[in-house]
């Protein structure tokens, strides 16, 4: 078994603290645009939510939320779960995402997504997700994805941790 690197332990600690969630959300243009919120970061998965607006509707007839925003939140929540499941920092990339639409989401009703990491292999991580709405027990959409550990440029974990450190120690920005 590989020992967890100290920076990964620190990364998990930062992401378990709600005061740093906004700095993570603020890093990505698409997160800010959709108004994504982190609800919970646990050992077994991540929960995120957003409030769909009329401009996110997938049909002018129903005003039900489109695939795009739901897939965006799923992909982000799954990606965060993958970063938290690793034993050392790595850049990651979504290889494949499948979503099954069990029902149409209701209009003007907050959408939440929770994830669960199924398996972490040497280069691949398998994750699943469910999207549901307030007042409903059953998910309206299920997702499954495969992520690859690319170990190249674009290591978001380190950027997230640096942003959190900058928030916690604003005077020590130079030394980060």
């Amino acid at each position: 078994m590989t020992l967890m690197k100290p920076n990964i332990i620190e990364f998990r600690e930062y992401l378990s603290r709600p005061e740093f969630w906004d700095s993570y959300v603020g890093l990505s243009g698409v997160h800010s645009d959709l108004g994504i919120k982190i609800i919970d970061v646990g050992e077994d998965g991540v929960t995120m939510s957003f409030s769909p607006t009329a401009s996110m509707a997938g049909s002018d007839g129903t005003n039900s939320c489109d695939l795009g925003p739901v897939a965006t939140v799923m992909d982000s929540a799954m990606g965060m779960s993958v970063m938290l499941s690793l034993e050392e920092f790595s850049s990651i990339a979504t290889l494949e995402l499948r979503t099954d639409w069990i029902d149409n989401p209701k209009a003007n009703c907050e959408i939440s997504v929770r994830t669960k990491v199924d398996n972490v292999m040497e280069d691949l991580v398998f994750v699943q997700a469910e999207a549901w709405q307030e007042g409903s027990e059953a998910p309206f959409c299920r997702g499954a994805a495969r992520f690859m550990l690319t170990r190249g440029e674009g290591n978001l974990s380190k950027v997230i941790m640096d942003a959190a450190k900058e928030q916690e120690f604003p005077d020590k920005r130079e030394s980060l």
Binding site: D60, G68, V70, G154, V159
Partner: protein, 140 residues
């Protein structure tokens, strides 16, 4: 003559993203203009995978709607997207879809997304397969 602007209006999300479509002779081509608000990973300044998924979904639903003369876009049953490479925010995304099998209620569709790199070369960024459902009262 088809009014492609009214086609995009059928999906408010497509309209709010600024997706435009035009007939390229071989089929409808959808373009999503590069914009900072679509960035997923700021370190590599790439389009978010969910945004690419959204473009593929709009491309498939609107192509089916147009091809089958439907009143509104068909509903999504399932979609599987394979990401082949990251799409940097430096240039627009282009998508087109193809109806593979038209059943009475369920349609099998595929779509691809490309991006122009190094000037003019088109690089395949992602591809998807989907099943769509046509509602009975939506057939024009």
């Amino acid at each position: 003559m088809t009014d492609y602007r009214s086609l995009v209006k059928k999906i408010p999300y497509a309209q709010s993203c600024g997706i435009v479509c035009r007939d390229e002779g071989y089929g409808i081509q959808f373009t999503l203009k590069a914009d900072e608000r679509f960035i997923g990973n700021p370190t590599i300044r790439a389009f978010h995978g969910g945004v690419i998924n959204g473009l593929l979904g709009c491309s498939m639903r609107l192509t089916t709607m147009h091809a089958q003369n439907l009143e509104s876009p068909p509903e999504l049953v399932s979609i599987t997207t394979t990401y082949l490479r990251s799409a940097k925010i430096e240039s627009d995304l282009i998508s087109s879809a193809k109806v593979n099998r038209m059943g009475r209620r369920v349609v099998s569709v595929s779509a691809k997304v490309w991006q122009k790199r190094d000037g003019e070369e088109l690089i395949l960024v992602a591809q998807a397969m989907a099943s769509l459902r046509i509602l009975e009262n939506k057939i024009a």
